[in-house]
């Protein structure tokens, strides 16, 4: 039995490019937004892309790069959009991204990212779109267990409709603003993640691993090759210079160390090795407020050239490894509860401290956790304002 393809975006099937989705009014609106963003991004001595790449390489830059993660959900609510449109309509998605960049003076752009659909639609995991929430899985592709992965030929990732629109929107934004910034990917990957989060579901997935660890390795070996194929294709199609490969399930509070060493670490290492010829940075990261401190040395050994973590992961340890091994830090510095409940003064003091700890010798970008829709605007703006105040090189602490 072949994998049963599930197209989550059938209404877009007749279109082949993002431009085809745009009405005259959409084009004017997007052009106008891009013009304003262009003005914003050229108002400082360095363009965001120069600052980011310079920071990654440890070169001379004007200040610490900075961006806040997630205020697009604030924007979405403000413009009266809902999650169904956000995921089903790449035009609304891109407008929301651009409006958010403009409103919050962001420096890192994000293209349309249909979360995990672009890894699972070709396998047949089915999704339902909800008005007020992320898309919901209604049926997992893997019904029985690892044998399905081992015995069947895997599908072609190039046939993913969700992936097509991720590539299309990324390339559209890079065409419009790519000389000033890069619309980079944060990608949740790895066979352990893919099996448990995209194909089988965690409850059955973990149990399968426990019951048949050797079959798990066989299946993960096969999925690994599939993932490398998928990522190489994305890299080739989008020419993206910076990658962050995230696997929240590998958090040390989530996964037992012996599972991590058997089912996660070998594939993370192989992924870095297999993608090494690709240009730019490959950062290893983790989502959520989980502590990755015990794994930082392992990540460094594996050859990741960047860290992407937030508190409670130890910033001082990240900095120490960064200094020793030249690893770049994308720090999700300001936690969501602080943004929601803290005062601007508290956030300013916190940002100042992070810069003091990690920004000397460059190789540090300051960001934030996801900004809730009810995070006060002043608590979002203060992050950038504080970076402009304390993060200019030479730092006043140096």
């Amino acid at each position: 039995m072949p994998w049963e393809y599930f197209n989550p975006l059938p209404h877009l099937s007749k279109y082949t490019s993002f431009e085809q989705l745009l009405s005259k009014k959409d084009k004017e609106e997007i052009d106008n937004l891009c013009k304003k963003i262009r003005e914003m991004w050229t108002s400082e001595p360095m363009k965001p892309i120069e600052r980011l790449v310079g920071s990654i390489m440890g070169m001379e830059i004007d200040r610490v790069p900075c961006t806040v993660f997630g205020p697009m959900f604030k924007t979405l609510r403000e413009i009266g959009g809902n999650f169904i449109d956000y995921y089903k309509n790449p035009v609304l998605n891109i407008k929301t991204a651009l409006l958010t960049i403009l409103k919050y003076n962001l420096e890192v752009g994000a293209a349309y990212n249909p979360i995990d659909m672009n890894q699972s639609d070709v396998f047949g995991t089915k999704w339902e779109f909800l008005e007020n929430s992320l898309p919901k899985v209604t049926e997992w592709a893997v019904k029985e267990g690892f044998r399905e992965i081992i015995e069947k030929d895997l599908p072609d990732p190039r046939k993913s409709e969700a992936l097509k629109w991720q590539i299309e929107t990324t390339n559209f934004l890079n065409k419009k603003l790519g000389d000033l910034n890069s619309f980079a990917f944060v990608y949740a990957v790895g066979p352990y993640y893919m099996y448990n989060s995209c194909l089988r579901g965690p409850k059955h997935g973990f149990y399968d691993i426990k019951k048949n660890p050797e079959l798990a390795v066989k299946a993960f070996d096969k999925l690994h090759d599939y993932i490398v194929d998928l990522l190489r294709y994305l890299m080739e199609k989008t020419n993206t210079p910076s990658w962050t490969l995230v696997d929240s399930l590998t958090s040390p509070s989530f996964t037992p160390p012996h599972w991590y060493e058997k089912f996660c670490a070998p594939y993370q290492k192989r992924l870095v090795e297999d993608l090494a010829p690709a240009p730019g940075t490959i950062a290893g990261g983790g989502q959520g407020q989980t502590d990755f401190t015990p794994l930082l040395d392992r990540f460094a050994e594996m050859g990741f050239t960047g860290f992407m973590f937030g508190p409670p992961t130890d910033l001082r340890k990240m900095k120490k490894i960064s200094d020793e091994k030249g690893i770049y830090i994308m720090h999700w510095a300001v936690p969501a509860p602080m943004m929601r409940y803290g005062t601007p003064q508290q956030i300013e003091a916190y940002v100042k401290e992070c810069i003091k700890i990690a920004a000397p010798r460059k190789r540090y970008m300051l960001g934030s956790d996801l900004a809730d829709h009810d995070t006060p605007d002043e608590n979002v703006h203060i992050i950038k304002q504080s970076v402009l105040k304390y993060g200019k090189y030479p730092l006043q602490f140096e």
Binding site: F83, L130, S133, K136, K203, F206, Y207, K210, D372, H373
Partner: protein, 211 residues
């Protein structure tokens, strides 16, 4: 059964409970084994011997066992710690955390009514009235959906039963501070704390002569 629950082996747990039922082991004793095993799981998690992965598997095994045992439970045989109506709020489809809380509450002797995920505030109230709930518990993992917890508070007030139930919230995006902000009676950071908080809320409710 204890071993299979501790190791999260749901197939073995199911077999052992069926075997126990065939051998006419008392339901009370089976429930006590489940409760003790899940307490042990909680201790191991707090001592960092267990990981979230272990909790998910032990929770799934407990769920399996309770599913087998439930039809045999005679209400007069069991004195429940309290009635809990639980669900993931409207717009949110995460259920792992909720599943763990249900497994723990069941093991601790609560009678739990699971409303599932993406549950509107009105459904919590409807069920709370129907089963004379002691606690209405809600979970939210998305930052965009936690406001629905406030809707539940308001809906309980509108229905005139707010003083007859206690409310308990949990999930990655909420905190004790948020519970105070919306007027919820309790917050639990994980499934084990949920049991302790739920017991304390029931005691408070009973001591003031409520439900």
């Amino acid at each position: 059964m204890r071993e299979s629950l501790l190791s999260g082996d749901k197939d073995e747990a199911r077999e052992t409970v069926i075997h126990a039922l065939n051998k006419k082991v008392a339901i009370k004793e089976i429930l006590s084994i489940i409760a003790n095993a899940m307490d042990e799981v909680g201790e191991k998690f707090q001592n960092k011997e267990y990981y979230l992965t272990d909790l998910i598997m032990s929770g799934a095994a407990a769920e399996e066992v309770i599913g087998v045992v439930t039809p045999y439970i005679k209400t007069e045989e069991i004195k429940y710690t309290g009635n809990v109506v639980i669900g993931t709020v409207e717009g949110d489809i995460h259920d792992l955390g909720k599943t763990l809380v249900i497994a723990m509450l069941n093991s601790a002797g609560f009678r739990v009514y699971d409303l599932g995920v993406d549950v509107p505030a009105s459904k919590y109230v409807e069920k709370a009235k129907e089963v004379r709930a002691d606690i209405v518990a809600s979970s939210a993992l998305l930052t965009t959906t936690k406001d629905r917890m406030k809707d539940i508070e308001e809906e309980l007030v509108r229905a005139g039963i707010r003083d007859k139930v206690k409310t308990l919230i949990g999930g990655a995006t909420v905190s004790a501070e948020y519970a105070r902000e919306i007027g919820a009676d309790g917050y639990a950071k994980d499934a084990f704390e949920a049991v302790a908080v739920a017991k304390s809320l029931v005691n408070k409710l009973r001591s003031k002569g409520g439900a």
